[in-house]
Amino acid sequence: MAYLIKGAHVVDPQVGLDDIRDVLVDGKEIVEVAESIEAADAEVIEGTGKYLVPGLVDMHVHFRDPGFEYKETIATGSRAAAHGGFTDVATMPNTDPVTDDGAEIRYPSDRARKAGLVHVRPMGALTRGEKGESLAEIGDMVMEGASAFSDDGHGVQSAGMMKTCMAYVSQFDRVVCAHCEVESLSGNGVINSGRAATRLGMFGWPPLAEELEIWRDIELCRSTGCALHICHISTEKGLELVKAAKAEGLPVTCEVTPHHLFLCDEDIDDTYNTNLKMNPPLRKRSDMEALCAGILDGSIDCVVTDHAPHAKHEKDCEWEIAFFGTIGLETSLPLMLTNMVGTGKMSWSRLVEVMAVNPRALLRCKPVKIEAGSQADLTLIDPKREIDVTEDYFQSKSKNSAFLGQHLTGVATDVLMAGKRTLADGVVVA
């Protein structure tokens, strides 16, 4: 099947493109990029007034499959990803069973191929069962296609174990993605410590619990040489540590979620809206502002959603027993467009770096460039189309969004994944 995307504003900093172009796709590849293309056999996708970018990548999602299929499956998660404009996602290994050997890597890959809506790049666990006690079969998982390694959901509590993990991973060309949390400090914390915890009468999850482990893992990176990626960074101080490591030339990167960019603990009011309960928690306004500055100035490498689906009964309850997390795949791009690009704070090419180029490189996937010969993973964005974030808007099996009720401007309308159309004018295909 051939597609001709006509008249879109093409943005790809990898090839220095930021202009109106026609793009012709045939089979799985881009075959031509030019100012004007005629191709009688190709189906035309009208791109006038829209932006065409390399397919978006979310390197931190939870698809809950296997084990928690009532929250999300590879199939429903794939629909959410396509609906949100993504061509690639990296699934976290904290399923049941945990993704900690080669066979467990094959499962999500096979299911995703069957769903055929998004490239799923499964991450493997660092330790067996994510228990933090012994090495998972990391080499076996690399050979089966694991994209990176993480015990996300927990920090590896033992510094010695984490050192072993990073030293072992350093023999492969893979990144260790660290969920940083010293559990003896976060304890029973369910909300940022300080004013919010005091006001609402709950145990705090202090910034120090995150920052101390970021510091530890940066030192382990220095010691082992293993590439380190800090998951869902949430505090100003943590970001300062990453900046200092980068300035030294250490292979350290980090990611931020839209909820840590656009929400803070002041948004949690007396209604105890459990969709705002996160791990790490929403932090102070000053942290949020520092993270926004960091995604603009290059010290934060990518935007991820930490897409964390939960069933209604797991959120419709008292805050202290509600599950942590928000879904994010279908609001990530609209939030970035509304709050960052639409306000003129972020350029389109920076958006492409943080939502496509950088995460793809961190997952060690082949670059996707808008030039002839590249794989046709493409996202077409209408910067003016408006959406109301309601439960009905979501393709995800779960509806626990921190952004319910918001009105956003800018959304993906069409997606090609390896030349296959997975989103057509805002509707998921198949």
Binding site: A197, C317, E318, E320
Partner: protein, 307 residues
């Protein structure tokens, strides 16, 4: 009429609300404390459910007596007798009771925010009888009543709240209520027991009881929850008593007219020495008596306002 529909926290009460509650409670005083027949028909035919999801004796019995004295029909459900222990969700529990058409829930819960959550699942009025580490507004009202009875006013008084502030719903509701009424509040605790953000309450903060005790009009001792001692926020009962306990020696240094309060139950010999608990300054039993009066006032004002 109060400015709120429910009594969830003291931070949403105005000074006028608090004054109304205290004045109404005062009007019940001759009925409850002087008459032989301690009962008025004010809430006859109204239905109140005391939903106590966490064990409680004094708060539950205080509410039950207050309900009887207002002639309300009330039932009490405990966490161990309710289907909550069978894994029923809060929303289901509330909707089930609500289907029997009740007018008011009085809620005691282990988890912060439970009373607020209940308001989302019923049209009935909700009174918070203590939720987790969050708020205990009816305790604050009885404390204010007791203090006002002694001094005749609240504004300008200097009040020290001493103890495990970090885990205390009593402090969480008392401190803001005192501030609203113009009192000056000092929070006294070891650093490991201090509140996360004292500036929110607009309170003074110190680790040294001895530095402030001579200036205080009210010394409010909190119960140290012995079950919270694991995790080593304080090393021992003995050391806590030595540093923060209200001893006879410290009591002797208080202002002549100053009083001592405690929400109970007390750990005699830990936060308060036995002789001090029973001394002339102690208002601990007055607080218990005020509990019935102020809870009557709260239920009367919240339910009566609908007539």
């Amino acid at each position: 009429m109060l400015s709120v529909k429910h009594l969830i926290d003291t931070t949403s009460l105005t000074a006028d609300d608090i004054t109304q509650i205290l004045d109404t409670a005062k009007s019940f005083d001759p009925i409850v404390n002087a008459r032989t027949i301690k009962k008025v028909p004010a809430l006859r035919g109204r239905t109140i459910v005391n939903l106590f999801l966490e064990p409680s004796t004094r708060t539950l019995k205080s509410f039950e007596l207050a309900e009887k004295r207002l002639s309300a029909d009330s039932i009490s459900m405990g966490g161990s007798t309710s289907s909550v222990v069978k894994g029923e969700s809060l929303a289901d529990t509330i909707q089930t009771i609500d289907a029997m058409n009740v007018d008011m829930f009085v809620v005691r819960a282990r988890l912060a925010g439970t009373p607020q959550k209940i308001t989302e699942n019923t049209d009935a009025i909700v009174i918070n009888g203590g939720d987790g580490k969050h708020q205990h507004p009816t305790q604050a009202m009885l404390d204010l009543y007791t203090i006002r009875e002694h001094f005749g006013h609240l504004d300008g008084l200097k009040v020290a709240i001493v103890g495990d502030l970090a885990h205390s719903r009593v402090c969480g509701s008392l401190a803001p209520a005192l501030k609203t009424m113009g009192a000056d509040v000092t929070l006294v605790a070891p650093p490991t027991f201090q509140v996360g953000d004292p500036s929110w309450f607009g309170c003074n903060q110190t680790n040294h009881l001895d530095d402030v005790i001579e200036d205080m009009d009210v010394v409010y001792m909190l119960r140290v929850q012995l079950e919270r001692m694991e995790g080593a926020a304080i090393p021992s009962r003995r050391e806590y008593n030595r540093l923060y306990g209200l001893s006879l020696e410290r009591e002797a240094r208080m202002k002549p007219n100053a009083i001592i309060c405690h929400p109970g139950p007390m750990n005699r010999g830990m936060e308060i020495d036995a002789e001090v608990a029973d001394c002339a300054r102690s208002r601990i039993l007055n607080q218990v008596n005020a509990g019935v009066l102020t809870r009557m006032a709260e239920m009367y004002l919240l339910l009566g306002g609908e007539e």
